[in-house]
């Protein structure tokens, strides 16, 4: 059913002399007959949802997929419309995008760059997808973003938190709604200062790859600006499952705060291990020992169970937010699936809506027109307050949530509570900030 989107081929067919082979250059070639890659000329348009369906992030991928399906339903006029009703732009009519019915294809990234690119390529080459979105790790997001730039389609990043996605690896065709490591640091620092004071010794455990490094750099910079001292930065192998041998030395290091720059399974295990070693009951330098998890994911935090109680971190969005947009989204998602959406689900839903709206406003699916429509676009009503899609690096600037593991959860979804909503201005940085330097957007590529 999602196959009938071959409008490009529909044109070929009608134009081709029946039966005889008419060769036309397409897709990647410079002299393409079409105006841009996968120009949807029929009655529908195909989007490609590329999420991890196998491997450790499969559950997050499944949640993203749910949100995508909800977004498609809303775009096509089904359901209760969700955040389309609260979105500041009223261009979307519930009749698809530019009157074309929205169809989609799905793929499995396996959280591997190669597999993710293979999957995205098949969507572009075989299914005629005009936009690719998804992903739940920065490595994959950056790899697929590069591919989409080359192929001339738009990439709307899913869950990717590394500074590099809109920093040194930014691309003109790629956009990120999710927040990043720098913003986590900037949002957390004032809260940490209020809670723990300015005289602290921090010990960093960091996943030994790009995302971990950028986050460690961001958090260390933000906390050192408060007057904190960084005792040690220890890198842990990605494949590590038992972090006990990295936690054990913390005990005698003189540090009184442990920062866990880990995500997903690594985060669950390192946090569990840290609590096991009694770090939370310790008193060092006359102060209570504290643990900080800069990037929280509710889905994953569940795996750490009671260990997250009272531990602070940041998150892009949380279902307990009381603004209109969040409420509308939680209502339609919860009614359809029976549980509240995760931050991954929220960000990909927003991205789909933002893309659809940009096309609508631009009046064209041409990637270059979409880029123009999204750049420096200001919007509201998608759950994060007033938001800006900055033109210089294609990063969204919006409020960031500082959250804490809840002491007395009332349900299995009620794990985190919002401590503070850090306003966008406080997490905004100049586009040429050194942590984001070294890359160039290049020019938009429409594949034409």
């Amino acid at each position: 059913m999602s196959k009938s989107a071959f409008s490009r081929r529909g044109v070929l067919k009608s134009g081709a002399l029946a039966g005889t082979g008419l060769a036309l250059p397409t897709i990647f070639t410079a002299s393409s007959a079409a105006a841009f890659t996968n120009d949807p000329t029929g009655s529908s348009v195909t989007l490609g949802f590329n999420v991890p369906q196998t491997g450790p992030y499969a559950d997050e991928g499944a949640d993203e997929l749910r949100a995508y399906q909800l977004a498609v339903e809303h775009l096509n006029g089904g359901g209760d419309g969700g955040m389309m009703n609260t979105f500041s732009s009223k261009e979307l009519q519930g009749n698809g995008i530019l009157g074309k019915e929205v169809k989609f294809v799905t793929g499995d990234t396996q959280t591997k760059s190669d597999a993710a690119r293979a999957s995205a390529k098949s969507m572009i080459e075989k299914d005629g997808a005009v936009m690719i979105t998804g992903g739940s790790s920065s490595g994959v997001a950056i790899a697929v973003q590069g591919l989409c730039q080359e192929a001339g389609v738009i990439f709307m990043a899913g869950l990717t938190h590394s500074n590099d996605t809109t920093g040194k690896d930014k691309k003109a065709n790629g956009f990120r709604h999710f927040f990043n490591g720098y913003m986590s640091g900037a949002a957390l620092a004032p809260v940490l200062k209020n809670l723990y004071g300015t005289d602290r010794n921090a010990y960093h455990l960091t996943a030994d790859y790009t995302w971990g490094w950028t986050q460690e750099e961001s958090i260390a910079a933000a906390t050192e600006a408060l007057g904190w001292n960084t005792v040690e930065k220890v890198r842990t192998p990605l494949a590590a499952t038992d972090f006990s041998s990295y936690i054990a030395p913390v005990l005698n290091s003189g540090a009184d705060v442990l920062v866990l720059n880990h995500y997903g399974g690594n985060m669950v295990n390192s946090l569990t291990n840290a609590v096991q070693f009694g770090l939370r009951e310790k008193v060092v330098n006359g102060k209570n020992f504290e643990i900080v998890v800069p990037l929280y994911s509710r889905l994953m935090a569940k795996g750490a169970g009671a260990n997250v109680k009272g531990i602070h971190g940041s998150t892009n969005w949380h279902w307990s937010l009381q603004d209109e947009g969040s409420q509308a989204f939680v209502r339609s998602f919860g009614t359809k699936y029976g549980f509240p959406p995760s931050q991954a689900a929220h960000t990909v839903y927003c991205q789909t809506l933002l893309y659809a709206d940009a096309v609508q406003r631009a009046g064209s699916f041409n990637p270059c027109a979409v880029v123009e429509a999204l750049e420096d676009y200001e919007f509201d009503g998608l759950g994060n307050g007033k938001t800006l899609y900055r033109g210089e690096d294609h990063q969204c600037f919006k409020d960031v949530l500082v959250v804490r593991g809840k002491e007395n959860p009332t349900s299995e979804f009620d794990l985190l509570e919002v401590v503070e909503v850090t306003p966008a201005a406080q997490v905004t940085y100049p586009a040429d900030h050194p942590m984001f330097a070294g890359g160039a957007l290049g020019s938009c590529n429409s594949g034409a």
Binding site: L24, Q53, G107, D108, A115, G146, Q149, T210, P237, L238
Partner: protein, 400 residues
């Protein structure tokens, strides 16, 4: 022909026809039909078929002939990819130097690892190769990030200092890989009635290289060198007792198969200029082992079949979702439709691993010789039906 006997010539011709006509063969369903989901004739997947075919053919030269089971072959593929991407970054976007360098570098790397690992045999050899590959993977993922770009993978950027060529094209994009100006990504599309067939320059380059690699592998299998390797497999001790040092032979086989892997890696980077560390992980090494055994270890064509089989499942089955299922079965009454979708649901989309696991087991239980044996059985059955009278004379063809 080409110094091959009749049977081998026939097989080479069959492979040649299959690969060159792949855009037709792999796209049997009209584009708008529900079955189009099973079409595999798009450039990326076709490229993957032949590239992993080359990888598996190379692996089979070592494993099929000598019986040495390397569990770290993906390291050579990864090294090949990195070399090729560096060549694109530093020298030129032409794929020829990139592929040459990747073969040379991975050959050297294989020489080094083979020299050390081949001091042991059996499972001790397997674990040594596994250890080297895992070390390469772990280091590439983290400590060697300046060379490998770690998690993200090595990509081209707009400020690469390309000596022969430009850093960025006039319109501000990264230049694309090409063969003396023929862009690897250029695709010609042919529409025949409701069908659409895609002919991709990169695919045909890979296919031609596959044919050359396949031809070379036949020659190796049939050569005195190949005989010697087989002798090593059947009884290395006896070989040693005859006063013959087998190590140079096994090492040569190891290096050749490492170079095949490097070639595959170089081609992968040429088709899509990215090199990620995951290509070296043990699961990737395990995959080529599975491809070879699944297709039929020690046979010429088996590894290629195995590679195609696994890649097909990875890329086609993972993309089927419930929506697609509902589309297929929409002709059924509602209750029945939901039931059928419910039954099939665990095996498609995110469940493609499950399907693959079950198929592994079925193949190895019922077809001890791998997919090749399946083919032979079918051929025999067809033959048997053709001449029922003297079916007894049908001899069992050796698995090659």
């Amino acid at each position: 022909m080409f110094g091959l006997d009749n049977k081998d010539t026939r097989m080479l011709l069959v492979v040649a026809v299959l690969t060159l006509c792949a855009p037709f063969i792999l796209n049997p369903f009209p584009t708008d039909s529900a079955m189009a989901q099973f079409n595999a004739g798009y450039p990326d997947l076709m490229q993957r078929f032949v590239i992993f075919g080359i990888f598996a053919i190379g692996f089979n030269i070592l494993f099929g002939l000598t019986g040495y089971l390397s569990f770290g072959h993906a390291a050579f593929l990864g090294v090949g990819s990195y070399s090729a991407v560096w060549m694109f970054k530093l020298l030129s976007m032409n794929v020829v130097p990139a592929i040459l360098l990747s073969v040379v570098i991975s050959g050297l790397f294989a020489l080094l690892i083979g020299f050390v690992s081949l001091r042991r045999s059996g499972i001790y050899f397997s674990i040594l190769t596994l250890a080297f590959a895992q070390m390469s993977f772990n280091l590439a993922y983290s400590v060697l990030t300046p060379i490998t770009n770690g998690e993200t993978g090595l990509q081209l950027t707009l400020d690469d200092p390309r000596i022969l060529g430009v850093s960025a094209t006039a319109d501000g994009s990264i230049p694309v890989t090409s063969l003396f100006g023929l862009e690897m990504r250029s695709t010609f599309e042919m529409a025949v009635g409701p069908w659409a067939f895609q002919f991709n320059a990169g695919y045909y380059l890979c296919a031609l290289i596959l044919l050359a690699a396949f031809y070379l592998s036949i020659r190796i299998f049939r050569s005195p060198f190949g005989m010697m390797l087989r002798a090593v497999k059947s009884n290395q001790q006896r070989m040693n007792y005859t006063g013959l040092n087998t190590k140079p032979y096994t090492l040569a086989a190891f290096v050749i198969s490492g170079m095949y892997a490097g070639l595959a890696g170089g081609l992968m980077a040429s088709m899509d200029p990215l090199a990620g560390a995951e290509r070296m992980q043990w699961t990737a090494s395990g995959e080529v082992v599975l491809m070879t055994i699944l297709g039929g270890a020690g046979t010429l064509i088996g590894p290629v079949l195995g590679a195609g089989f696994i890649k097909y499942f990875e890329n086609i089955f993972s993309k089927i979702n419930d929506h697609v299922l509902h589309g297929w079965f929409s002709f059924m009454p509602d209750g029945l439709e939901d039931f059928v979708v419910f039954i099939i649901h665990p095996f498609i989309g995110k469940g493609w691993h499950l399907t693959l696991g079950i198929l592994f087991m079925l193949v190895v239980v019922f077809l001890p010789g791998g997919l090749v044996e399946g083919g032979q059985r079918i051929a025999k059955w067809v033959k048997g039906r053709k001449n029922k009278d003297d079916s007894t004379s049908a001899t069992k063809t050796p698995a090659e």
